[in-house]
Amino acid sequence: MMIGIDSLAPTAHVVGAGPLLSEETVMLTIDGSAGEGGGQILRTSLALSLATRTPVRITGIRKGRQRPGLMRQHLTAVRACAKIGSATVSGDEIGSREIVFTPGEVTPGDYTFSIGTAGSTTLVLQAVLPALLCTTDRSTITLVGGTDNPMAPPFDFLARAYLPLLGRMGPGVTAEIESRGFYPAGGGRFRVVVEPCAALGRLDLLERGAVLQQSVVATVANLPGAIARRELDAANEVLGWDPACLRIEMLRGAPGPGNVVSIVIESEHVTEVVTGFGEKGRAAEIVGRDAAREALAYLESGVPVGEHLADQLLLPMALAGGGSFRTTAPSSHTTTHLRLLEQILGVRSAVEPLPGGAWSITLSR
């Protein structure tokens, strides 16, 4: 069965007449409350607005939430985008339900964004990065704050899974971590270097290929090493890997306590990262076991792209004008995202179930 995204009801509209991306008089309006209605729509809209230099009005921001409107983390993303795109913004204040973002020139260069732990460094990166992929010069983005936070893509995922795939579309994108920052103390710092390309190329990721290497790393900062040990033991009870794949990392000098379990599965065509976060009141065994179960499910599904990576890939693929991948069942997040991409970029998508529980997602103009 084919699900044509264009058969879904439109969730946004264009005010005025004329083609979608014409410069004159038309203000693209995004209904920020569509689908999930969260910060994701805001960040995607900003990223696309910057990448396509299209002014955008985002309405109904976080409508229906307990605390609706822009929160600090969103505001941080808006400000970061405004900075790299010399944008003028109205409505950029806490609690605002509507913003108008008008990008100017996107300037490659060195940027540092300090983000409190209430926000997320990786989410800010997600918003500013696409626009810097196809510029005339190299950019360095330094992000300060939390690097491993349950509410955002963790650093390892970014560096090992997502950025290498972006690199395959043309630009050179590498990330280097200086220190990790955990919620709530933060204090992490990493740097992303972008060597831009003229235009993004198509990416097709239909096969995973053979697994080349796999590892489980339990990291603890200012916490007993026994916690990491217990997590590894519990994880390997599920995975049954060679003990040489298991590693404990004890961080020195971190400002606060922190604990994260990273499972990295490096295959021929893709690397996936599954992350488990330790938190107070949650047994180390559960943290290790749950992460391992998620990794096992990925391995057993046979698809190259897991759920989180799928969400990340849609935007660059849409900017490239096409691409495809095989993944697990699309979440409502994915559906919202696809609608938005179609609305702003005019990219059509096909979401097709495959035998054996996998799905294929194809984007094309």
């Binding site: 605390r67 409107g69 929160m71 600090r72 983390q73 505001l75 204040e93 806490i94 609690g95 300090s114 983000i115 409190g116 732990t117 209430a118 300060v144 704050g145 919620y183 709530p184 103390a185 933060g186 204090g187 900062a221 200012n222 971190a254 400002p255 606060g256 306590p257 938190e279 107070k280 009141g281």
Partner: protein, 540 residues
């Protein structure tokens, strides 16, 4: 441009404490304030006892980490005893007074979750009284005991503007008399400064009576109070200051108020009454509007000045009183002497030293400094701090010193204007809108100068009926009667007053006999035309 958010808070040595990485597992209110997703703090003024400077620095560094947008400024606050209300209040009050609040640019939140309960209560009181022009900020840990949780917060706005409305009418009355002329003010008018210097010289060198003249509201009674304070501070007098506005004295009550009476001296004299002159013994007696004093009282007063003795009403025993006499008047007493309403010999006794106080319009350069003083005294009497926005202040001063502002009621007008603006200002800010309203109000009142002057003076109803009977009237009747008296006093005859009062009916020919109608109206108050005329002020 949205305002910047500034939090003022006390460091909580217990709640904000904690060492090493484990401190991040605790709920620390001063850090948690800066971790809220929907509260962006631009600056945090962290008050702390000097010995907790180290902890304050830790908090500052931790806040920087979780909230790079926040600038934390630890400031040591010395409190002699953190459990002593007076000490804590004084320290915080000093802080509030010295702090450069800029409410047009910044939005202030007072964090009351930390600090001793004494400090919390003092912060609350200072916020309620708007010495801290802020809303209250309360933080609390989240219910679930999750590690590192930053909990929740609530903002409480103690907007007391609804109480201000009620207070306003009392304030205007109360504060009319509070305007100080030179009480600590840097007056810039050279002539006025010279005058004050001469008065001070005379009053410290001599015990002779002093006569203060000048328009209503120029500050005669304030100056009298200052002369008294000066003499007292130089130990030239020991007794009290006894003041009275002679225009309020009528009939038997006048004699008795001034000279006292003995029990049974007249109906209603149930007990002995000392009277003002005896109260002023060894001190200062200030008789304002001395020209309004009846001839009998004038005679008594003259004797009291010359012989330092007098007879209380109904008494045959003389009483001694030695006082310094100050008199005030806005009348030309020489003309009153010529008209036979004032004793020439009394005038000769009291006008040895005559000083004329200029009206406000004659000393416009003092308007700006007095504006600050007025606001300050508004803050003291209401307990709530009020300030002008820059634009509003500029607008008001430009009007106040312009020739258009005649200030016919002088400081009384000025003080009332500031009081009204301060009262109507919402959340402690007098805006350009408040100023425009007030300017319109002043213009309207000055367009009816005769009304304004009479208004600023003694209530005509009290003048005619006496205080006791006036107090028995409904406000409704008072207002009506006051207007009738005012009009009548401008008229030459009962008929003319009737024509003026019933002009509208007359135009419609529905009233045939205006004079009769007025006579009947007055009869309801047991008044006759001559009763109104008797109290009519001297002209010229």
């Amino acid at each position: 441009m949205t305002k910047r958010t500034v939090v003022l808070g006390m460091l909580g040595p217990t709640l904000d404490g904690g060492k090493g990485a484990a401190r991040w597992e605790r709920w620390r209110p001063s850090v948690a304030v800066c971790q809220q997703e929907d509260l962006l703090v631009h600056r945090f003024e962290l008050l702390h006892p000097p010995r907790f400077a180290g902890l304050a620095e830790t908090i500052a560094a931790d806040v920087k980490r979780v909230s790079p947008e926040t600038e934390v400024r630890p400031s040591p606050l010395t409190i002699s005893d953190a459990w002593d209300f007076e000490a804590v209040y004084a320290a915080l009050h000093d802080f509030a007074r010295a702090y450069p609040f800029a409410p047009e640019r910044e939005d202030y939140l007072v964090h009351i979750t930390t600090g001793t309960h004494v400090a919390q209560i003092c912060m609350f009181l200072l916020t309620e009284s708007r010495h801290l022009p802020a809303r209250l900020l309360q933080t609390s840990p989240s219910r679930r005991e999750a590690g590192g949780s930053h909990g929740t917060f609530a903002i409480i706005d103690l907007d007391l503007s609804r109480y201000d409305r009620l207070a306003s009418r009392f304030l205007i009355e109360q504060r009319e008399g509070l305007s100080s002329l030179k009480g600590g003010i840097d007056t810039r008018n050279a002539a006025y400064n010279g005058l004050i210097e001469r008065i001070e010289k005379v009053s410290t060198a001599s015990r002779a009576p002093i006569l203060l003249t000048g328009p209503t509201g120029a500050g005669k009674s304030q100056l009298a109070a200052r002369i008294y304070a000066l003499k007292k501070s130089r130990r030239q007098i020991e007794g009290d200051l006894a003041s009275i506005n002679c225009a309020t004295l009528r009939g038997d009550g006048a004699m008795s108020a001034l000279f006292g009476h003995v029990k049974g001296a007249f109906t209603g004299a149930m007990t002995d009454r000392a009277g003002l002159l005896r109260k002023a013994h060894g001190g200062v007696l200030f008789l304002d509007e001395v020209g309004e004093l009846g001839l009998d009282e004038q005679a008594m007063l003259l004797r009291a000045i010359e012989e330092k003795t007098f007879l209380p009403v109904g008494s045959d025993r003389e009483v001694k009183s030695d006082f310094q006499l100050l008199c005030g008047t806005n009348r030309d007493l020489a003309a009153a002497v010529a008209a036979g309403r004032f004793r020439e010999d009394l005038l000769a006794r009291i006008d040895l030293w005559t000083f004329r106080l200029p009206g406000l319009a004659e000393r416009r350069e003092d308007i700006a400094p007095n504006l600050e003083i007025e606001l300050e005294s508004a803050a003291q009497s209401t307990g709530a701090r009020v300030a002008f926005t820059a634009e509003a202040k500029d607008r008001f001063l430009r009007f106040a010193i312009s020739p258009e502002a005649i200030w016919s009621g002088n400081f009384r007008d000025f003080s009332a204007a500031v009081t009204r603006m301060a009262t109507l200002a919402s959340s402690g800010r007098i805006t350009a809108g408040n100023v425009d309203e007030e300017i319109a109000r002043l213009r309207a009142s000055w367009r009816r100068p005769e009304l304004a002057a009479v208004n600023a003076d003694v209530d005509p109803v009290v003048e005619v009926l006496g205080e006791v009977r006036a107090a028995e009237l409904d406000r409704f009747d008072c207002a009506q009667l006051a207007e009738v008296i005012r009009v009548a006093r401008r008229a030459r005859s009962l008929s003319e007053a009737g024509r003026l009062l019933f002009a509208a009916s007359r135009a419609k020919k529905s009233s045939v006999n205006d004079a009769d109608r007025l006579r009947k109206y007055l009869a309801r108050f047991e008044l006759e035309w001559s009763d109104l005329a008797r109290a009519q002020p001297a002209s010229g």
